[in-house]
């Protein structure tokens, strides 16, 4: 098959694309991130459907006898994640105000807290006393917390990238979309955890 687009482009046309019109005040990257979060939330929705069927429809005891969920440790983990949301907010706030040092500090703290969360979580898995194949309740437990853990991991990856860039001198009061998007994602991960924590551990 022959080239389609190029043959004619060699003519008298522009070397550069015309600047696209902005037909919305919303920033494209921001909008993309928000839509992505919508679909992520739906992915959690499908796992919560399993939670609903197994816990509500089937009436599985929660958790069934000898097992127990480490509510307290997970509660501590919740606190860690909540704090990390604030430090993330601080990082963004700082870069908006032109305080790059604050941004770096905020990013690094968030990163550390996120890693702490994941480590605690893995530790919890090891000590849980049941595995993913010990009944449907365990599958739901590992399914939902695992899905969330994977999202923490993605969030951490984004944060790492932003931290690397921050230390390499990127981002300023005018240009900080990368930090902003990573931040939104991080807050989403945080909110999702609160939902997971409430439904799995507390209720």
């Amino acid at each position: 098959m022959e080239s389609a687009s190029i043959a004619h482009a060699a003519g008298a046309h522009a070397e550069h694309p015309p600047e696209a019109n902005r037909s919305s005040r919303v920033d494209p990257q921001l909008l993309g991130m928000l839509l992505f979060i919508v679909s992520e939330a739906m992915l959690f929705g499908s796992f919560f459907t399993a939670y609903f069927f197994i816990r509500v429809v089937e009436g599985t005891p929660w958790p069934p006898d000898p097992f127990e969920f480490p509510v307290a440790i997970a509660g501590m983990n919740t606190a860690i994640l909540l704090i990390s949301s604030f430090t993330m907010h601080y990082a963004l706030h700082s870069v908006k105000a032109g305080n790059r040092l604050g941004m770096k500090a905020g990013l690094v703290t968030t990163l550390v807290l996120g890693v702490a969360f994941l480590t605690t979580q893995i530790n919890e898995y090891v000590k849980a006393g049941f595995s993913i194949s010990d009944g449907a309740f365990a599958s739901v437990f590992y399914g939902l917390t695992g899905l969330h853990g994977a999202h923490v991991f993605i969030g951490l990856t984004l944060l790492t990238i932003m931290t690397v860039r921050a230390f390499r001198g990127h981002f300023s009061a005018q240009a900080h979309m990368g930090v902003e998007c990573a931040g939104i994602y991080w807050h989403f991960v945080d909110v999702m955890w609160i939902v997971v924590y409430t439904t799995i551990y507390l209720l």
Partner: protein, 661 residues
């Protein structure tokens, strides 16, 4: 979603020249492309293999178990492919803190056929990549269907074993749905939408390229399942109901994982469309001036973003059950089986509208241009799309009327399902009213649209029959359903796809297709299609269940007839392929606007210039103002001042703007 993060240009580094294409052996191995993809795929597969064996050694399990090894390879090897082909190059640079490169457009345009086998960020190239790939899979999926029909030509066993037979229709349906209908619409829209809304490209060109390259991964994975020794391909239908699928042999993994890639691709494309349509419309292009194709893809993309995660979820849960021995669906361990169907259909019903709404958009474009009349009831046409979107999320359980689910859910779902006939009917009647008193040009795209209107109505009506619970109790899981789904998917979606490909062929390739062959293709398809699928209604009503390799003697006559017709239908496709290839190569050059249409993509040359427009057009009116004296849709290239009222109209001769040949 790294793209939205990555594109953010905080600091622009110096513009780098595009990477060297030729060079020494090492340079060629390291340059993004198929070569690097090949070895990276192998490397990742080997890595996955080593990882699994290593982990098993640590844990003291027997070292070689094909299931975990294959699962790991299926997850890892595609990553190698995507990295190798160059889908992530930019983001890797971003990750390690290199300055953001401004898009240097080295990836734009296609100079030779080789450029279609590279990561390319030009929406026009990606559109063609999508379309051609999908047509390839149409041939494969169709060939599988022909094998199904060969087996079903007579009762008893003909050419394949039951196991293979189950694999044939499962792969047939999966390819047709995930690699033909959904992506081909994404491809056509990719090509046309930025042009239609007056944008130079999509919002996230690199994400766009990555979405495309996920497709061959998914398709090849599904096809490769036939190669699995002992087990053969996945054979539980495209629906993969548990517990059959949770205990199925290894081939099932190829579906479970393949769907993830196809699904990711379609979510990312949808997101791209939404952002493009919302933020990149030309000045003056308000939502009420958008061509209906754009409206249709806007709604479809919303459906995709909201619903597709559910099919991903259903397959994730299945994967957990299969690979890690979780118990979501295992009733002996406190699991629940029917939830799989709820999760699956919560995606897969909306998916059927994902598979037809873009077609509605295509039909609106063509009917209006070929009847030389404005679309009848434009606003209601747009609103009915939104109504279908909303209703579409409330009807999933109509696939489960006989499944033993909550019986109270059935009647509400029946009512909502039947109500979808209303917005769909609005569309059908509005198209008919658009035809009425128009000046109909019955060329190939138009013929396919007219075929679509009648055949889709038939398929929709059999859908209404299925929606009525007492009738569905009898015909569910019979050939009546198979008839319904081919009437809506082939008579509906495929017909609009053919129409769309013919309609935009001149724009995409710069050449005209052979109209006579097009007409022959239409009539052969139309007749072959009805001969194949209409009798399925009767054998279904009479009592032939679907998904059977063997059937009672009483159905032999009709099945033979159906099989013969199906072979004819398959051959008709060859006419299409021949026409496309020959016309692309040798067809007469196409003018900018052969159909005298008003929408923006026709106001530029065929094929369009590299960056679509030299200057973003100014939209000043609706897209379908045929026959309205003085109406103009848009003004291009500094002609803003020059255009007096009335220009660009004159017998509907369009507005040739910057068309250059």
């Amino acid at each position: 979603m790294a793209d939205s993060v990555a594109v953010a240009a905080e600091t622009h580094g110096s513009q780098q020249p595009s990477s060297p294409q030729r060079g020494g052996f090492k340079a060629r191995m390291l340059a993004p492309g198929l070569l690097r993809a090949a070895w990276a795929t192998v490397a990742m597969a080997a890595f996955a293999y080593g990882l699994v064996v290593g982990l098993r050694a640590i844990q003291g399990f027997p070292l070689f178990d094909s299931a975990p090894i294959v699962t790991a390879i299926l997850l890892a090897a595609p990553m190698g492919f995507l990295v190798g082909i160059g889908g992530f190059d930019y983001w890797f640079k971003y990750m390690i803190g290199k300055p953001t490169e401004p898009e240097d457009h080295s990836g734009h345009g296609a100079r030779s056929w080789r450029d279609y086998f590279r990561v390319n960020t030009d929406h026009k190239v990606i559109g063609i990549q999508y379309t051609v790939t999908s047509i390839f899979f149409l041939l494969v999926g169709g060939a599988l269907a022909e094998l199904v029909r060969a087996e079903l030509a007579a009762p008893g066993q003909q050419i394949v074993s039951t196991d293979t037979f189950n694999g044939l229709f499962s792969v047939h349906a999966s390819l047709m749905i995930f690699l033909v209908i959904i992506p081909v619409f994404a491809g056509l829209a990719n090509y046309v939408i930025p042009l239609m809304i007056g944008a130079p490209d999509m919002a996230f060109p690199r994400l766009n390229a990555l979405s495309y390259w996920l497709l061959p991964v998914a398709g090849i994975m599904m096809m490769a399942s036939f190669l699995v020794p002992d087990s053969g391909s996945f054979s539980t239908g495209w629906t993969a109901y548990t517990p059959l699928s949770s205990n199925a042999p290894l081939g099932q993994q190829f579906f479970t994982i393949g769907v993830q890639f196809a699904g990711t691709s379609s979510i990312m494309t949808a997101l791209n469309f939404l952002v493009t349509i919302i933020t990149m419309r030309a000045p003056g292009m308000t939502f009420w001036r958008l061509p209906l194709l754009v409206w249709a893809n806007f709604t479809t993309s919303l459906l995709v973003v909201i619903a597709t995660p559910f099919v991903a979820g259903s397959q994730f849960l299945l994967l957990l059950d299969r690979a890690l021995h979780a118990n979501f669906f295992d009733v002996f361990q406190g699991g629940e089986t029917l939830q799989y169907q709820h999760i699956f259909w919560f995606y897969s019903h909306p998916a059927v509208y994902i598979m037809v709404l873009p077609g509605f958009g295509i039909v609106s474009e063509i009917i209006s241009a070929k009847s030389r009349k404005p679309i009848f009831g434009y606003r209601l046409m747009a609103l009915s799309l939104l109504a279908i979107l909303a209703l579409g999320f409330t009807v999933w359980a109509h696939h489960m009327f006989v499944s033993g689910m909550f019986s109270w859910l059935r009647v509400p779902m029946m009512i909502t399902t039947m109500l979808i006939a209303v917005p769909t009917g609005v569309k059908i009647f509005s198209w008919l009213a658009t035809l009425w008193r128009g000046v109909l040009e019955l060329s190939t795209p138009m013929l396919f649209c007219l075929g679509f209107i009648t055949m889709f109505t038939l398929g929709g009506i059999s859908g209404i029959m299925l929606a009525v619970i007492p009738i569905d109790i009898h015909v569910s899981d019979t050939y009546f359903v198979v008839a319904h789904l081919h009437y809506v998917l082939f008579g509906g979606s495929m017909f609009t796809i053919f129409a769309g490909i013919y309609y935009w062929f001149p724009k995409m390739t710069g050449r005209m297709f052979d109209e006579r062959l097009g007409k022959i293709h239409f009539w052969l398809t139309f007749i072959g299609f009805n001969a194949t699928f209409a009798p399925m209604h009767w054998v279904g009503l009479e009592g032939m269940p679907r998904r059977v390799a063997d059937y009672a003697e009483q159905f032999a006559g009709w099945n033979l007839f159906i099989s013969i017709a199906a072979f004819g239908l398959g051959l008709s496709t060859l006419v299409f392929i021949y026409n496309m290839i020959v016309s692309w190569k040798w067809g007469p050059p196409a003018p900018g606007n052969p159909w005298r249409a008003k929408t923006l993509e026709w106001q530029v040359s065929s094929p369009p210039p590299l960056f679509n427009f030299d200057e973003i057009p100014q939209v000043v009116g609706g897209p379908y103002e045929y026959g309205v004296p003085g109406a103009v849709h848009a003004v291009l290239n500094g002609e803003r001042e020059k255009v007096p009222a009335g220009a660009g109209e004159a017998g509907g001769n369009g507005h040739n703007g910057s068309a250059r040949q």
